[in-house]
């Protein structure tokens, strides 16, 4: 058991090395990744002055907020009402679908809309819809296990005392599910904020999100301290999501 514990801890450490190195490099007072030139906030200051980066982060935040709010809320309704296996299976299949296939099909659909309806949805609307397309089933799948905590008797009691369906949902079901709701909201937010492939297929050249900007450097293999700073900032939603997620889930013990 002792060697196993050591192994597990070594693996955990290894998982954090690349991310840790990148965050360290964003504070490195040198343009070369393998030279430590001392601690600096220079790259963050440069990032502050870089309007395109702020616009990109802002775009990502707006899309991720809209997506996570819509997906989590609707996902909760789905998980609460549609409890049969067939509904869940349809959502599960969507979750494991290969990204390229899904993104290409969405782009193809947007092209058809553009050609035959004459509405060009590529850009913010396309990105929002493409993200919603995969986060809705994701929220459904993530929330479904927590429905076991909503007891039938609590719901029936509320209904017998005269609460409407909507009132029961907001006053009984939602409070019980709040930690799960927050956890799912955060996972969806971090996912939508970080995702690149689906965005690439559905955005327009004018609508740049943070991953799109990061890609323009990453796909050419260009290391740049200002981009390390941007990438380090982009880690924040994921980290906050992970921490709050495990706390929220703990409540159901």
């Amino acid at each position: 058991m002792r060697p196993l514990r050591l192994y597990t801890w070594a693996l955990a450490a290894a998982l954090y090395v690349p991310i840790g190195v990148m965050v360290a490099l964003s504070f490195n007072n040198s343009k070369l990744p393998y030279v430590w030139g001392g601690f600096t906030l220079r790259w963050y200051q440069e990032l502050l002055r870089w309007d395109q980066a702020w616009q990109a982060v802002f775009n990502s935040v707006v899309v991720a907020l809209a997506v996570s709010f819509t997906a989590t809320l609707l996902g909760m309704f789905m998980a609460y009402v549609l409890r049969q296996d067939k509904y869940l299976t349809i959502s599960q299949v969507a979750v494991v679908m290969p990204e390229v296939s899904e993104a290409l099909s969405f782009a193809a659909a947007l092209w058809l809309v553009k050609t035959y309806v004459g509405v060009d949805l590529f850009g913010p609307v396309g990105v929002f819809l493409a993200h919603l397309a995969y986060t809705l089933p994701m929220a459904h799948v993530l929330l479904a296990p927590y429905m076991a905590y909503v007891s039938r008797s609590a719901v029936e009691a509320a209904r017998i005392f005269g609460a409407s369906e909507l009132k029961t949902m907001t006053a009984v079901v939602m409070p019980i599910l709040m930690p799960a709701f927050v956890a799912t909201f955060l996972i969806v937010f971090a996912n939508s904020f970080d995702t690149y492939v689906k965005t690439a297929f559905t955005t327009s050249p004018e609508f740049v999100t943070a991953p799109v900007l990061l890609w323009s450097y990453a796909a050419r293999g260009r290391g740049d301290p200002t981009i390390y700073a941007l990438a380090s900032l982009m880690l924040l939603p994921s980290l906050v999501a992970a921490v709050i997620y495990f706390r929220a889930v703990k409540r159901y013990g």
Partner: protein, 243 residues
């Protein structure tokens, strides 16, 4: 009313996720010149995906075993939290790490299949870990105790009893990781520097460079169909574990 909202939400899943696949059918019915990927590319993708799955499972298994048997909640959180970090961020952080490794050891990983393999294992390890964790957690102590009472050493008991019992979980993890890796775009592009050319990169280029909707649609559908088949197999094996 609540039922109606839920059904509308469900309808939008179908409309947004499944109906676009019909658009692929539209482009396929339009016909065209099918540009198949070269055999060597398919082989590369296949081998890379299989290697990713094998390495990810081999690395994750001992940790999954430990977590399921003795692990604390904190250790579980620590190992699964990387799931929430996006693929592109992981790829970019490895890019920086590769530059440092190359400088100090002389081992060039950027632009090689080995580099892409490292990236994909890094990305899919948590998935393998979670699947294996589920399989080990369901193991009952009885068969192991029986083997121990009958004189098997701890290692013998593991290799002859526990490992065979978790094989369905190993198979499920393999299929899951293999499948994700087959369609992977980001890691080969960023860490393979477009020199390690995979199926995913090919579909990507068909859309972004060649604008060849016909071939892209056909290949996407093939990938999607394979994934459906694999998911079906995974779901069946996972069910058989619980019995």
């Amino acid at each position: 009313m609540i039922r109606r909202v839920a059904l509308a939400a469900f309808a939008s899943v179908v409309l947004l996720f499944y109906v676009p696949f019909l658009a692929l059918g539209y482009y396929i019915s339009g016909g065209g010149d099918l540009k198949l990927p070269s055999l060597s590319m398919v082989v590369t993708t296949f081998l890379l995906a299989a290697a990713t799955a094998v390495v990810a499972i081999a690395v994750a298994y001992p940790a999954a075993y430990y977590l399921a048997k003795y692990g604390s909640e904190f250790e579980f959180a620590l190992l699964t939290a990387p799931l929430w970090v996006g693929t592109l961020l992981k790829a970019y952080s490895l890019l920086a790490l590769f530059a440092i490794v190359e400088k100090f050891t002389g081992i060039a990983l950027w632009g090689t299949a080995a580099g892409v393999l490292v990236g994909m294992v890094y990305e899919y390890l948590p998935y393998a870990l979670l699947t294996l964790y589920a399989a080990v957690e369901k193991l009952s102590e009885t068969p192991v105790n029986a083997a121990r009472v009958l004189g098997a050493s701890r290692l013998q008991a593991f290799f002859r009893v526990e490992l065979p019992l978790t094989m369905p979980g190993v198979a499920a993890a393999f299929i899951l990781v293999f499948l994700f890796a087959m369609g992977e775009v980001v890691m080969p592009a960023v860490l393979g520097a477009w020199k390690v050319y995979t199926f995913g990169s090919y579909v990507w280029d068909l859309y972004f460079k060649a604008r060849d909707f016909f071939s892209g649609s056909v290949l996407s559908l093939v990938l999607a169909a394979l994934s459906l088949l694999a998911t079906y197999v995974v779901v069946r094996t996972i069910r058989s574990i619980s019995i």
